[in-house]
Amino acid sequence: MIHSTQTDDGIIIVRPGVQRLTAVNSKAFKDEIVALIDAGNSEFVIDFTSTTFLDSSGLGALAGVLKKIGHRGDLAVCGLGPDVMQMFTICRMDRVFSIYPDEAAALRALSEKS
């Protein structure tokens, strides 16, 4: 379901590939990113520009991805629309994730860190 590309710096850009990340598809979303982590990738940008809604399952999957990456790498999220941002804020996940307006800003931030 996810679409992923790799930059020259080795950062993986993930687009969830669904408009709504919910209990129906959040496990597949997490499993596919975890497979990328298991393959040796450690720096990720997840671009939610095309995702208009996520529920607690989607948010939980994202927390699982962040835990899996741990201290070995980095994760940034970007392109959060108002409904997705509202969910992050209500669940206080805006304090946990590095959030950027778009892919360019997220990539710039990760490149500067590494």
């Binding site: 209990a23 809604f53 529920d55 607690s56 948010l59 939980g60 927390a63 669940c91 206080r92 996940m93």
Partner: protein
């Protein structure tokens, strides 16, 4: 004024189309941020019911009523026939107490946080979750 009844099949795939239908039905009655809370709450409530309703027939339909008054929009979700009663108010954990890295456990807390009022009880021989979303801010 909204006054509509819907029926949800007992499977996960049916939830999201129903949530989107309910949001579209309520969109002219609630301010945008309240509508966002309404969407979150509806999604969590229906998912909880489909995943956790116990002892009901596997193909049991769930009745949903959406209505409004001058001051609020009301969502009523009836437990499927035969399901054990489940008053989520007794089990919800406040979102501030949930580990931000937890992969689960937010659903009930989200329902409590996103609705302006949550009720649960027996109505017409069935158990009903009642969620209220105030319009008051819209007027202010």
């Amino acid at each position: 004024m909204i006054s509509e009844t819907f029926y949800l099949d007992h499977n996960l795939e049916s939830i999201d189309p129903m949530v989107q239908l309910l949001v579209r039905t309520a969109e002219n009655s609630l301010r945008q941020d309240v509508l966002g809370r309404f969407g979150i709450c509806t999604s969590e409530a229906l998912t909880n019911l489909v995943l956790h309703a116990k002892n009901c027939a596997p193909d049991a339909e769930m009745q949903i009523k959406l209505s409004e008054t001058e001051i609020a929009v009301f969502l009523e979700v009836y437990d499927p026939e035969g399901a054990d009663p489940f008053d989520l108010r007794k089990y919800a954990t406040d979102l501030s107490e949930i580990d931000v890295m937890a992969e689960g456990g937010r659903g009930l807390g989200l329902i409590m946080a996103c609705a302006d009022h949550v009720a649960y009880g027996r109505v017409d021989n069935k158990y009903r979750l009642g969620l209220t979303f105030n319009k008051a801010d819209k007027l202010g």
